[in-house]
Point group: C2
Chain length 304, copies 2
């Protein structure tokens, strides 16, 4: 596991901090939760292997964690997952079972495989050990900041990372950020109970954040912490991706850039030099990434 850097960003005459979790092994924070979960397995469970379903980042996290512990991993992945994520999962030594996102249930397939092999299913967020593992991001933030954070902006899919950070940094205001139309965590926090995404949910580049229902576990931890939720638009996300490349020299994937997008769009409210923005992943299809950067560079040229 890499202790990812906390990078300073000059902002509005002051400074905020970027937790660059895209620099984690496997390109996202997911390795943290996966390792913590796998470390809880008994010897017998290790031998039967693990199963996970994931659009990509959790897949890589589980595959890398399993390889490092000598455990076999099978990953259930949508057939339209980014090739960059599929290839990396294979490279980490996992077996992939593809499914159709529109017609099949990944939960059912994952459960069937787990039953067939006697393998343990590693959930991507609805699990105490996974949430605690993601919380190591918060532990590092506290150590690297050298003082209490006042606000942490976190990209949110199922809420594992946000909940983990909320548990690790109880003094901080936690702000979850989701793509437009996928703000089920924001609405669940407002409602005080899990509220699913409104169907049909709009298309989004944020393949890592396409969860349609949060879990009582992550929602509970975030509600307890009085977290609140924001959403950002696709153009705001694309601007954040280009900003991250130019001003931070890091590659952010769409889902990883949403919290930075909220900051740049002025949606984050007051910030300070104790504010942290998490960039949670950087696994983006190379052609898509080049296209976003080219369009943003052309926009900037026209604008100035």
């Amino acid at each position: 596991m890499t202790r990812t850097p906390l990078l300073p960003l000059d902002w509005e005459g002051g400074r905020v901090w970027i937790k660059a979790e895209c620099l984690q092994r496997g390109g996202s924070f997911k390795l943290r939760g996966a390792i913590n979960r796998l470390l809880q397995l008994s010897e017998a469970e290790r031998e039967r292997g693990v199963v996970a379903f994931s659009s990509g980042n959790h897949a890589q996290g589980v595959a890398l964690a399993a390889r490092s512990l000598g455990i076999a991993a099978t990953i259930v992945m949508p057939a339209d997952a980014p090739a960059v994520k599929r290839d990396a999962t294979l490279a980490a030594g996992a077996e992939i079972v593809a499914y159709d996102r529109e017609t099949e249930s990944r939960e059912a397939i994952g459960a069937r495989l787990a039953a067939e092999k006697g393998a343990v299913l590693v959930p991507s967020f609805d699990d105490v050990d996974v949430i605690e593992g993601q919380g190591s991001v918060g532990v590092e933030i506290r150590a690297q900041l050298g003082m209490a954070a006042d606000k942490v902006l976190v990209p949110c899919g199922g809420g594992g990372l946000s909940a983990g950070i909320a548990l690790a940094l109880p003094e901080a205001e936690i702000v979850t950020v989701e793509p437009e139309g996928w703000d089920d965590m924001a609405r669940s926090l407002e409602a005080g109970e899990p509220v699913p995404v409104r169907e049909p949910a709009p298309p989004t580049r944020c393949d890592a954040l396409q969860t349609k229902l949060v879990s009582p576990l992550t929602l509970g931890a975030l509600a307890e912490a009085h977290a609140r939720g924001l959403w950002v638009s696709e153009p705001e996300i694309e601007r954040a991706i280009a900003f991250a490349a130019r001003h931070l020299r890091i590659v952010a994937e769409p889902g990883g850039a949403v919290a930075l997008a909220a900051l740049l769009a002025g949606k984050a409210g007051p910030v300070s030099e104790r504010t942290v923005v998490v960039v949670s992943g950087g696994n983006v299809d190379p052609a898509l990434y080049a296209g976003i950067l080219a369009a943003q560079a052309a926009d900037a040229r026209r604008g100035g």
Copy 2:
């Protein structure tokens, strides 16, 4: 100053380490040498300000270091310097004096400005304090690796970074890497004395490495360390830029990517988990960067 991360890279069944100095404040290692030099100034010298000439990264390093110490900075910069570097230098509060790279001597302009203002000239590499400051990269590598490095591949312009690392890590083999046709350090190390670039030098994207003559100071330190030099082609550099984005999630500028390019091209010789590759900077024009990534993504698609 940021303690930049040492990122693991799976390589040929093992692992090497990437020192991601593109994540430094100002987007390159140059802040390190500039701060160390400015910290040597007397109170009277601080008041008269500093002058530097630079194609960009040293400019940003001096501007940021000067601002952090409350010192006025004037930067002599080629008129065709990347806008991304010029803008960042202005944003850091420095004054810029532009010159024509083909017809004017930046050394003469810098010296004249220094004389007029009584300001101290901060050299980009030919200075003991600057070299020692860059050497802090080596000090960090030693601490982060937790053991002695066996080989360090370093992008080389004037040789300040390479020489600083050689002084900090006397146990390591130092390999300087330069763009094709700009391998004056490699040839100087072979000759045992400064040998200029052969004119006309070919065009290169590596604006940060276009020095035509190394200094006796940097050459001396590297020769003492038995360093050797390599060169890489422009296509090799572009492949390394795309590789860095995809597999390391960092933005490397052309000059910052040459050492990684040497590794990828198989020019680095035997490597181990004690080998470190320095990515020295990430300040690249956004449109150029997008273009390189798009071409590389199209190549990869055709190739596989």
